[in-house]
């Protein structure tokens, strides 16, 4: 007999860490636990166990992490489903279904306006298919090559050919990826690395950028500090774009080996400030032998248009967003609106 119960973050912490480490071994869960479960600026997380009553042991767990969002010009609280872990002998879909339904509870109780999950592959869609739920949007990877050694190596199968070809081709890539975008930036932005904690000017920018017909993360100083400055696992680089000293936009980067991920890109006049920020980042990262930039966005959005303008090319779908709203609720109607754009970035996929 399987039963679901809420996790008590004090009493159940060791058991939760155990099941997460057992099933999701790539993350050092103990190191991130307090940060992600308790100290989130948007509020604490929820989590549930599926317990096998025969052994009295937790055999599966899932969590919902609070996320402050702008939804059609209003700040709301939603939740991102994550840390979904099911022991191998219990992967018969039933336990996962029990957990998936449990993650809907804060929505049904009115604590969240919706919760969303981001299955990266088809297998992750199984519970939603069973529940008759379809993705609300798809997130695609966008890539801008900075250097050609790695790409040529893949094509030719030879690192020597790649090194020779890359040496010849990299200057061309530099030329190809500068001209029009430098003009688009108008050269009027002051672009600088930003290493302090985020302050009030970021909260102000977050309020100034309209979100009509849009769902996007709230980027208040407290949200940004929690996400990027207090993260115990990652070091982020931030570049700001200012005009006459006033903050207009920023980009958040995360380096991984010889590639860089655009975790977030946000601001006003993003069609101009975005390419300027990306070009500035590319200029610095290329010197450090970074091969490519990757960014994530639903296609057909202002964000994807900005990325394409900045030299990114659309690649494969890397996640779907599946959202649950309370049936008949205002948000339920809003999420069905054809004109609504999901302005999600990599930050919105990360847990």
């Amino acid at each position: 007999m399987l039963q679901v119960r809420a996790v008590d973050f004090d009493a159940d912490k060791p058991q939760l860490l155990e099941i997460l480490q057992r099933n999701l071994p790539d993350l050092p869960h103990a190191q991130r636990f307090d940060w992600i479960y308790r100290r989130n600026a948007a509020g604490p997380a929820w989590a549930w166990f599926v317990v096998d009553s025969a052994s009295k042991k937790a055999v599966a767990a899932a969590s919902v992490f609070s996320r402050a969002i702008w939804i059609d010009n209003t700040v709301k609280l939603c939740g991102q489903v994550g840390d979904f872990a099911v022991d191998a002998p219990y992967r018969s879909l039933g336990p996962a279904l029990i957990l998936q339904k449990a993650t809907f509870q804060p929505v049904d109780e009115g604590q969240l306006v919706f919760c969303y999950d981001c299955p990266p592959h088809d297998r992750g869609m199984s519970t939603f298919r069973r529940l008759g739920m379809e993705p609300n949007t798809e997130i695609h990877r966008y890539t801008r090559l900075l250097r050609l050694e790695k790409w040529l190596g893949k094509k030719s199968g030879s690192s020597a050919v790649a090194a020779i070809g890359g040496a010849a081709a990299n200057p061309l890539l530099r030329v190809a990826s500068s001209g029009p975008r430098s003009k688009a930036a108008d050269g009027k932005y002051e672009l600088n690395y930003f290493e302090d904690r985020f302050g009030e000017e970021f909260s102000l920018l977050d309020k100034q950028v309209p979100s009509t017909d849009t769902i996007r993360s709230r980027r208040g100083a407290e949200n940004l500090n929690w996400r990027y400055r207090d993260d115990p696992l990652h070091q982020y680089q931030v570049i700001t774009a200012r005009r006459n000293g006033a903050l207009e936009a920023f980009i958040i980067l995360l380096k991984s080996d010889d590639e860089v991920y655009v975790v977030d890109l946000f601001g006003s006049d993003l069609d101009k400030s975005g390419p300027a920020l990306i070009d500035a980042a590319a200029y610095h990262q290329r010197k450090q032998k970074i091969q490519a930039f990757h960014a994530f966005s639903p296609p057909g959005t202002p964000m994807s248009a900005t990325l394409e303008k900045a030299g990114f090319r659309q690649r494969e779908a890397s996640a779907r967003v599946v959202a649950y709203t309370k049936p008949g609720s205002e948000t339920n109607l809003l999420l069905r609106r054809d004109t609504l754009k999901w302005s999600f970035t990599r930050a919105d996929l990360m847990v």
Partner: protein, 88 residues
């Protein structure tokens, strides 16, 4: 009611056709299907669709339990039990 052996053979045929790892490794009726990774959660959906169509039974969410899907023997017993309640 379908004979248990026939039922298990039909299930095995489907598992072999649908899941490459099963064909590669070979599956005995008592071999674990879930912990071995032969069938994943998406595979369970395919299996449920097959069972419902082939044997005329309805599988509810509450019945998607490890004990019903752990092995071919367990699956056959589950379908038999459903059949004795009016289907198959």
């Amino acid at each position: 009611m379908v004979d248990t052996q026939v039922l298990t053979d039909r299930l095995k045929d489907f598992v072999y056709k649908k899941f490459p790892l099963a064909k590669k490794q070979g599956v005995k009726n008592s071999d674990p299907l879930l912990d071995s990774g032969i069938i994943d959660s998406l595979g369970i959906l395919d299996l449920v669709t097959f069972i419902e169509k082939e044997f005329g039974v309805h599988v509810s969410d509450e019945e998607l339990l490890p004990e019903n899907f752990q092995t071919l023997d367990a699956l056959a017993a589950f379908i038999q039990q459903k059949g004795s309640n009016g289907a198959c």
